[in-house]
Symmetry: C2
Subunit: 144 residues, 2 copies
DNA sequence: CTACATGCAAATTATTTGCACTTTT
DNA sequence: AAAAGTGCAAATAATTTGCATGTAG
């Protein structure tokens, strides 16, 4: 998924092309990590001073519904990231300092489904939290 | 972990023995599943008509801090369940209809840590959502 | 009688919604 | 124009906090 494909999808579905939408998507494409509504607002407010949370929230929900963004909930906040659904199903290591993510292609669900055939699985969440290599190095430097 | 052990732990740490705390713990022990603050309030209000959310929330946080309860976040709400930490590390299948849970002893983290030695893991979440066998059967009956 | 526990009311935080106005198409 | 997008202000909803009072040890 990239910004052009996303805008194309929006057009197909009858949603309009606005600068705010495009800029939101560009921000997500550039960051490649989970962002909160606040992150997005802060980024877009330089460009659009009157920009409000409502618009951010409405568009985030819309994008998530269309699978343009992946959604998760982290520390009591919804977070979104540009969808990597063109690649195979996967999970992430998430750095709690900088938000950077790393893909994990292996998914433990296959074996789980076999183990519990009576449980009808509708979804799952597998996320690993911690500190990425870069953030770890910064800490080391700081404490010297 | 059981209610007596939990009350013992509270006493050790200098927290007081109150009927509300004990009843909260009994409720968790009986239910063996993830419960929201609201669930707990509804249960305790019959016994303690004046019972307020504050007390529930304060005690839930306390119990979680002392590892008497396990905490997770599900559909925008914090949920707690009686801790099974005496048994080995594990995860759950969670029925979104009735809240019932099933243990999974296997944890995918061991292999993940090996795969990403540069990422300092501080936590992880692995939860499987769906419909348990009982709830599935109820649906079948309903639709007849 | 002292520290912890609780209720009340008010504050916080993230998110959603109704309504009037403004853009896209 | 018509449909969709947006800002504003107000409403929710879950959770937290300050303060005065109550209660267990």
């Amino acid at each position: 998924m990239n910004v052009n494909e996303a805008m194309e999808l929006l057009k197909e579905k009858g949603y309009k092309h606005t600068g705010k939408r495009e800029d939101m998507l560009h921000f997500f494409e550039k960051e490649k990590r989970y962002l909160s509504a606040k992150d997005v607002l802060e980024c877009l407010q330089s460009e659009y001073p009157g920009m409000s949370f409502d618009t951010i929230y409405r568009n985030l929900s819309l994008f998530a519904e269309l699978n343009i963004l992946e959604e998760t909930e982290l520390e009591g906040e919804k977070r979104f990231r540009f969808s990597c659904s063109t690649t195979q199903h996967h999970h992430h290591l998430i750095c709690l300092e900088c938000g950077k993510t790393k893909h994990i292609n292996s998914c433990p669900m296959d074996s789980i489904r076999q183990q519990f055939p009576d449980f009808q699985v509708t979804g799952h969440k597998f996320e690993i939290y911690g500190k990425c290599q870069d953030c770890n190095e910064i800490t080391k430097v700081d404490s010297n």
